[in-house]
């Protein structure tokens, strides 16, 4: 296993009135990690501590193998950060702003220009990058924020709620970009969200915080283990009922789940259950819309916990 990009041990942040982080020990591997938790679960506090902006009350942390207490400036040089709140001056163009912030991360001017042009193209800001950012849509602003977070080719980016305030289409675009940053650009990503569903799509690992404590950390695939249940959708007159009865008669337990049928074939079933579904639908003259494996959803983890 590769060494972790973020490691914390007993990390605690006590704001007096609020215990933002409570004895948090996590080890985050390279790749895309989703950091999930309700508002106030300690996500933003963790990010600020990892950037060396807020000192923990107790505990230690290392980022990219560098000790937080000793090497905060070096960490900040190799980490990118997309804040949750607005952070773009309205009277500056994305192009100028990203060049400037590239230099603030230590790139020489010429390199900062080249990198800014490149990352703005990657995040999908074309001609509009020369216009003042005050006129941007929320989606374009989020893209500009992402561009400044990766302009200096960091080893790790901390994305604080990058999909916040986006409409569904822009949300999909942003999640696609997050995935590209993590998988195609080779930059490790820690992305926070209070929505579980969107993180299970893009992240390799999921860390769940609850009131500053670690609820669970594991690979996304573990959350989403195939349960063995098969979901089937058929079309036709009284389709669900007829199909259900036919399958029951063939020895497959069936339950209705919304507009779908959930099949739980016994492991010792002699015929292939997919063939059985196909043949049954054909015999009954029903339109077979889909057969899909039923995954657990991350939400179920909360139900278990």
């Amino acid at each position: 296993m590769q060494p972790g990009v973020i490691q914390t041990a007993g990390l605690t942040k006590d704001y007096g009135a609020v215990l933002a982080l409570d004895d948090l020990t996590i080890d985050i591997a390279p790749g895309i990690t989703g950091l999930v938790g309700a508002n106030g679960a300690g996500k933003s506090t963790l990010i600020k501590i990892l950037l060396g902006l807020v000192a923990p009350t107790s505990g230690t942390a290392s980022v990219l193998g560098l000790d937080l207490a000793a090497d905060a400036p070096a960490i900040r040089a190799r980490v990118g950060y997309l804040p949750e709140h607005d952070c773009l001056p309205p009277d500056v163009s994305a192009s100028d702003f990203v060049v400037h912030l590239g230099m603030m991360s230590g790139l020489p001017r010429v390199a900062a220009r080249e990198r800014a042009a490149e990352v703005l193209r990657h995040v999908g800001l074309a001609e509009e990058r020369y216009r003042p950012m005050g006129g941007y849509s929320t989606g374009m602003k989020q893209r500009a924020k992402l561009a400044q977070a990766i302009v200096h080719d960091p080893r790790l980016v901390l994305l604080d709620e990058p999909t916040n305030g986006l409409d569904p289409a822009a949300r999909d675009d942003m999640l696609g970009l997050v995935q590209r940053v993590g998988h195609d650009f080779g930059i490790s990503v820690l992305v926070t969200s209070h929505l579980l569903g969107e993180l299970e799509r893009v992240s390799d690992h999921v860390v769940i915080l609850d009131s500053g404590r670690l609820l669970r950390a594991s690979e996304t695939s573990e959350f989403l283990d195939v349960t063995g249940t098969l979901l089937v959708e058929v079309l036709g007159d009284d389709a669900q009922a007829r199909m259900g009865q036919a399958l029951l008669a063939a020895g497959v337990p069936v339950q209705r789940r919304g507009g779908l049928l959930a099949l739980e074939p016994a492991p010792d079933l002699t015929v292939d259950v997919h063939d059985l579904v196909r043949d049954t639908a054909l015999e009954l003259g029903l339109g077979l819309v889909r057969i899909q494996a039923d995954h657990r959803r991350i939400e179920d983890v909360f139900a278990d916990a």
Partner: protein, 297 residues
Amino acid sequence: MPEPMPETPPTGVIHDLGYRPYDGPRQTGRHIALALFVSGFRNAFGLGRSNKSKVLPFLLLVINLLPAVIIVGAMTLFNLNELPLAYARYASATQILLSIFVAAQAPVLFSRDLRHGSIALYLARPLSSAAYAAARWASLLAATLVFLLVPVIALYVGAVLAELDFGEQTRDAAKAVVLAGLLALMLTGVGGLIASISLRRGFAIVSTIVVLLLGNGVVTAVQGIARDQGELRVGEVAGLFSPYSLLRGATTAWTDEEFVLPRGSGAMSATYFVVMVLVAIVLFALLLLRYRRIAGR
């Protein structure tokens, strides 16, 4: 017979549109702070910003320079044998323009990043909050010095070209430069601190002008009354409470110029200089403190 495939690959280049990592040089603290200083200095004059934001600083710069140009013109025209306005009096004579300049341009360097939240992007980068504040402060100081020194230099060049006594002119101009430096340190402190606390540009401008000009107005009134009542000591102490009266006190002590009050005791003269430096140091420290608090939020 079909032609054989060429041995060499085609010369046309297919551009790789994939992500390229950066493995060039990376600069550290001092160079980044310098880059921030330079961009801040340019921004203070509206350079690197919209055309609209260039209007005010350059307009003020030109109006501020105008008296010096007129003086130099008059000097050559009428063959005057001394400057009608001494170097050291120039800043006091144009203090309204100077105050507007500092009040209007300090928010460009301090309030903007706070108001739009971009401070978070700076603080997430290698520079510490103290280094950020110091670079911003240095940008404002340099811009204020340019504003203060351009007319002095114009007067000096004019005086030298008009063949006034070179040694005398150089000595007087050099004293004016030192006094301007002390004034700039104080003005930068006042303007920077106010702009780092007030996020609204308008509020910062008004507050700074009130502190600088109204403060000076009150002190000047007190000094005038004290002089008329024969209570010179009261007037001298009052002079410690505003940057411009401190400047006048120090100027009176060090040069041949006099303002509201006549030249006082040696101890008081030294006090003006010490207080100017102290004010600059305290305001700078408060600015660093302010940014440390912002970083910890």
